[in-house]
Amino acid sequence: MDTIKLNIDNREVEVEKGTTILKAAQKLGIDIPTLCHFELNGLNVHNKPGGCRICVVEVVKDFNGRPRRNLAPACVTECVPDMVVRTNSIRVINSRKTVLELILSDHPNDCLQCAKSGSCELQNLAIRLGVREIPYKGEQSSYSMEVSPSIVRDMNKCVMCRRCETVCNEYQSVGALSAINRGFPAVVSTAFDQHLTESSCVFCGQCVAVCPVGALTEVDHTNRLIRDIANPNKKVVVQVAPAVRVALGEEFGMKPGSIVTGKLTAALKQLGFDYVFDTDWSADLTIMEEGTELIGRLTKYLAGDKSVKIPLMTSCCPAWVNFFEKQFPQLREYPSSAKSPQEMFGAIVKSYFADKINTKREDMICVSVMPCLAKKFECERDEFKTNGNPEVDYSISTRELARLIKISNIDFNNLEDVAFDSPLGESTGAAVIFGATGGVMEAAVRTAYEVITGKTLPKIDFTELRGLEGVREATVHVQDGLDLKLAVVYGLSNARKMLEQIERGESPYHAIEVMACPGGCIDGGGQPYHHGDADIVKARWEAIYQADKNMPIRKSHENPSIQAIYKEFLGEPCSHKSHELLHTTYFDRKKSIENE
């Protein structure tokens, strides 16, 4: 390994060749402030435009032995041997502050009302650099605010860090956002300034997850929810997605990776929901449906039926569904027809459960707490409505739930654990791992194996399906003559590769799991902001598998409540009734974008 020795702020440091000044300084405990720079190490997200110029440093001695003419951006400048760097000279401090003042001079001064207040990286910088006035007054950008089903865009707050553009184009390959105009009016927008709903946007919300300021935020349903809970004529039912329970604690100062299922349930009860249920329950239901569908397709396929679509692709992730409908509608028969767990849950609540508690559909409000912003869009899909009444009325993000808890004076950290309500609150370990990349596939394999072979799994943990690499593949030996070839991907650019492979007729897989967000739902667009700290995402990931281990039952088909609903109501997986309630069809939405 080639190493380089250099001097930063009068201290020597030795780093690997190719290391940036920013990283070398971190090694010495010198924390150079950044703004546009964003990296989720090991999770395929990198944004290094070197554009904000907040991280500039003075290179007193450069590769040629002479001082560098201008200041160097630490985030992209690589160390060279014998370099001498000052990160806190008066020239640096003045320049950095002036650049920040310039950015602030074109930023609305409305921190107190801003949705990002308290989690804003620009606000933190202003605090850190001690900005007390903005000397450079002048014209301010003026764009109109745009509200879509999931995302609010207030481009007056955009600082042109280009993080959203990078995740949208490089990480997701969606291509909805990119810089438009030049000079002062330069801003990130859609092509021809279309509304997001008309663009190629899939509402994954990763742009919101990485935005350092309040330019991109989620559509906030907290007030709507407070009103609905207060309405005595409504029965309000809540479901909570698996990934929420391993991240919500962060909003209350807990260590990343804290599993707060019991406190979460307690808080929801205190908020006044009539029934506190678990999306994990419908995740188990999903496995029954999707797993059965997979077995069905596989059986035909192995029998030589060429018309059957293999690989089966998962369909839980709403951003992924939007993606293939908008970009690969010709392949829309490959994904499973099973609805997402959120929508399966809503369908059961507003039919089976409504009957059970003797309440009319219209008098029920089904709310979901999701790590996701695309779920908000999913709630509004016409195919998930019965006579105009949605299966799930609306979805709130993990962040919105945290706000609600704070508004409602609930001392989250000191809550006593409470269990989910019955019957839609019972779940298995197979369901909770839906929250991490590979989880759906592992849960499906646990069930498929036992259903196909009729034998008990020798080992529940399919570690070969776990991991944080963007594309993973594994072969699972089920029985003689049946080795399941599986792929697990996250990030829609990876999904695109899978789809292109299918299109070329070269896909070697029987089934593919796709999640849009880095590491799966644990880093969904609605999760607490991690500001680029990949360790937070990794801690959530570990917590998901810990939560699985903690469960007494770890296979979906063994969930007694699931067994009961098939017996009582649905008949069997993929029955006529199941198809009516739990399956959907996909549409060609490519045309609608192109015709705009």
Partner: protein, 597 residues
Amino acid sequence: MANYKYHILICGGTGCHASQSAQIKINFEQLIVEKNLVDDVQIVETGCFGFCEKGPIVKMLPDNTFYTQVKPEDCKEIIEEHIIKGRKVERLLYLDPKSQEHKADSKHMGFYKKQLRIALRNCGFINPENIDEYIARDGYKALATVLEQNDPQATIDIIKKSGLRGRGGGGFPTGLKWEICSKNNADQKYMICNADEGDPGAFMDRSILEGDPHTIIEAMAIGGFCIGATKGLIYIRAEYPLAIHRLRVALDQAREYGLLGKNLFGTDFDFEIELRYGAGAFVCGEETALIHSMEGLRGEPTFKPPFPAQEGYLKKPSNVNNVETFANIPVIINKGWEWFSSIGTEKSKGTKVFALAGQINNVGLIEVPMGITLREVIYEIGGGIKGGKKFKAVQTGGPSGGCLTEKFLDTPIDYDNLIAAGSMMGSGGMIVMDETSCMVSVAKFYLEFTVEESCGKCSPCRIGNKRLHEILERITQGKGTMEDLDSLRNLAQVIKDTALCGLGQTSPNPVLSTIDNFWDEYVAHVVDHKCPAGQCKALKKYIIDPEKCIGCTACARVCPTNAITGTVKMPHEINQELCIKCGSCYEKCKFNAISIK
């Protein structure tokens, strides 16, 4: 050109084209048919002669008579007098402003006397649409030599020893640039010609492409051979239709002659050139932005390293040179590095083309040896300041450059001296200003340009330049404060220090150099609310002298904002709040009662 008695060279540059030089050519062609001179006279449309101030230019060979400001109706007289009767048409000859004598031969004209045309050697001499004329002037000989020698490093060494530096503004040694790129191995490399000329007023690249396109093709092939590239790309502004047309014609001819394509000169070297069109964004002249634009991406710069020599077009090693740089290459090969490096100063060799403009008598395109002084350029080549006014400053380097004052008039022009003086070579814009120019407005003008042309990627350039411009706007409105002047300096310095690319790093230069050289003028605007040059409209004040006003009411009637009041036959008054400083009253008053303060 053997059998003709006369050659009539007509300037086919964009400027002369705009003044009907195409019609002049048609007229001459008709006339020689009418007069039965088709076998005696050849009519040639050439590239730019450079002396645009006096265009359209018609030059007669072999006697070298230089006719200026020729109109289509003058053709008949030129044919009848000059060709048939052998008498020069006196009234169309250049009139020397000093001696008031007509000069027939361009060699004796002040504008040409001190020029040395290397890059422009064929402009105004050959028909750019005829490859044979280029070949007759040693065209493609350098390429043949290089390929025959078959030693890329030897050619790179020649270019290195010649001391040629990049003419696009950066001044990086061309040979070294080639050498770096030649050492990076890849399955494909690219030789790129930067023809995205963007400095306001600069048009040397356009003139070379219009007047001598083959020299660029030849030079690119030589460069391609040296760095190991088989593909060349010319990134040219789509607003240069004539240059594009001539390039296309030249490329077709070169292909037809086997000078592009496979196995050039029977060697195993293949080279092909494609055109890429730019939409005219100034920042796309920056090499990384240019490459992104060619790739179909947003034209904005990225951090270097990686340099294009490492990761350029389509991530392959690429070398980007400017048009004028290329135009020097074949001559250096033909005449030797010793010859080239004997011209110029210690660190800046050869010549530089400047677009001379502004308040100067001889506006046009000039090529001068490095080391010539500004005084020689302005007073000898340029013929001095227009209208006998006083010289105030000369702006070099375009929007990235600075303003130089009288004290620099005797400084030899080269890359390093201009930077030391607070300006730069840039691509060779040179705008001369007289005493009526307001230096705050000049700085504002350039800032307006960079604000418009910033890509918006980095904060200091996107927002900082906007704020600089706003402060300058306030100052010219008479609303500036002394704190604004402090802010200007600090902001300008920070932008220079922190901007991402060359555009942002140099955009504050016009501000800094005018603050340094014309501080008093800034203070006058701020403290006295006066524009010493009388240019800033908002600072003008129209006042009626009650002693002189007879109350004729003419001014009040012409005022568009009803700012002038008063009774008939009594002195009138201007309400300064309502006055928009249009000057109508000033022009209307027959009694000189209105003055500007």
